[in-house]
Chain length 327, copies 2
């Protein structure tokens, strides 16, 4: 029985979702895969909970374990663990604190699994080179598309294929807003407020509605599976703020809907609202679903769709990444 | 550089497609993955071509290499190779000759990759147990959905998830016939003839139109990724022969199309024509595309679509299986 000691750095929605998944699945994974997964540490701004034999997850979720006065960096540097899961809030300008966390863990020979887009969109080569030099895995399926399989899908199931392009809907908030505007003929500002009150959009929605989130995901995909070497700030980005109910109605009359589409291929990496024919799979994506169309040289066109957000969905992607490292 | 000596048994459309893919991709795979893939033997009813250093693939495709008077079984038993690709014609009644070929290769400690549904639909446990006892891999992504990723997708990318159900369109021939009947209002017999003359349907179409092919694929999925232990002949099967243009038109008037759907979940495994709402992704599948909706306990609903048939598409799935064994 192989033991896998895990620490979670950043204990917000996704980190807590993962703790929940570990609790639900640990016996199953022991039996089926011979992996003894233990959560031995958790850290966020409140401090850290540590137990080398494995924390009681119910207690950890309620911060009822003994809380030590050490910060995330100390846990990463001094903790006894095999794998760090990094789920602190993403920062698209600096990549911090995740960038430092990931480097510190990799330099110590620890595997890293993350859902944090910032550091990968900004420092993809640096981080993957460091992982390679350290002989460690750095996995990040959850950074793109939540539970929708895409990075590992291309790397494993389409191994041997050259990926010619990836095109899709990668932001559930924009998709929710555009769907509501189209179906109800409502203006952007009204639907945005509605989405904010439902928790689908943030108080400051710019990260989603200006296409930044989609651009980050595209940058990660371009580097990770399209063999490109692109910087996040080289993506041409247009968001959805200026789309009017009139434009949507006009499109609909002609048999189209408007979706915020991210597309990456050699020589082009772009986020923009686009007209999509009503009988195209992209047009069916309502609410917060994500979809991606992958064009591969041997397999041809492959389309995947799934829930782009959600704590358990992201945790599912992280959990599969963890398992794949040890299998 | 790891050397991988491959033999292909059954050198029809798919086997030849794989030889083509090996030719196109061998340098790439050498550079990127450090795998030196060599085709060292090919056998079908015409005899065998063998070269321990690697056959010239262009010559092999035209049967211009030296042809030896040995049969497939002799090549499998006496050949020097690491991995057998089995692509003989599938037989749903006996699983032969593939069943014997696969057993003979596994017993000799050779890995096996196959696109052959018969033996897996009939003898799933026997073959996977034998592979486990021999310490060999038995991979069969190409048996279901051609280039559409599904088996490895679930095993790798959804690792840790319990799969609650799989539902989809798994037969391109039926889907082509139903699409044409719906769009043109043409009767079954007319469209069948058309499909036959286009090479989309076989001279004896029963394997496709009676749902047998879909039932075989469902059986493989149920055993391989749903944790069920089902026999092929326990699938409830209804085909598409009795569907009339009137039924399709009536459905269309009510906002539905009719598709041949295979569905597997605990306690139910069934192939039947079903009404699908026009705005469901299944309804968009025209021609020979395949689609599958997977319901997973953590990831939620995941949908995949891709080309369900084609020599290069099937070869792509086989090629990815080969790479995954050595990575």
């Amino acid at each position: 029985m192989e033991q896998v000691k895990i620490i979670i750095v950043g204990f917000g929605t996704v980190g807590r979702g993962l703790a929940e998944v570990i609790k639900r699945k640990k016996d199953h994974v022991k039996e089926e895969l011979g992996l003894d997964i233990r959560l031995v540490g958790v850290a966020d701004l409140r401090g850290a909970m540590v137990d080398a034999d494995g924390l009681d997850i119910d207690d950890a979720l309620e911060w009822k374990c003994e809380i030590r006065d050490i910060d995330s960096l100390q846990l990463i540097r001094e903790g006894e663990y095999d794998l760090m899961v990094e789920t602190t809030p993403s920062n698209v300008e600096t990549g911090e604190p995740a960038f430092t966390h990931i480097k510190e863990a990799l330099m110590r020979g620890k595997h890293v699994v993350t859902s944090n887009k910032g550091p990968l969109a900004l420092y993809y080569r640096e981080l993957t080179d460091l992982a390679a030099r350290s002989g460690c895995s750095l996995k990040f399926e959850a950074t793109v598309g939540g539970a929708m399989p895409i990075i590992n899908l291309i790397r494993n199931n389409l191994a041997g294929n050259r990926i010619l392009s990836i095109k899709g809907i990668f932001n559930g908030t924009c998709n929710y807003i555009l769907t509501r505007m189209t179906e109800e003929g409502l203006p952007y500002s009204y639907v945005l407020s509605e989405a904010q009150s439902l928790g689908i959009a943030e108080a400051d929605p710019s990260y989603d509605v200006d296409g930044i989130d989609t651009a980050e995901k595209l940058t990660i995909l371009a580097n990770a599976v399209l063999g490109m070497d692109v910087a996040y700030n080289s993506v041409a980005v247009e968001g959805i703020r200026r789309i009017t109910p009139d434009a949507l109605r006009l499109a609909l009359d002609k048999g189209y809907v408007i979706k915020l589409i991210g597309e990456a291929r050699e020589g082009k990496i772009e986020v923009a609202p686009r007209l999509i024919p009503k009988d195209h799979p992209f047009a069916l994506m309502r609410g917060t679903l994500n979809i991606a169309e992958i064009e591969a040289d041997l397999a041809g066109p492959i389309t995947v769709m799934g829930r782009g957000a959600g704590a358990i969905e992201a945790a599912s992607a992280i959990f599969s990444d963890i398992i794949s490292i040890y299998r």
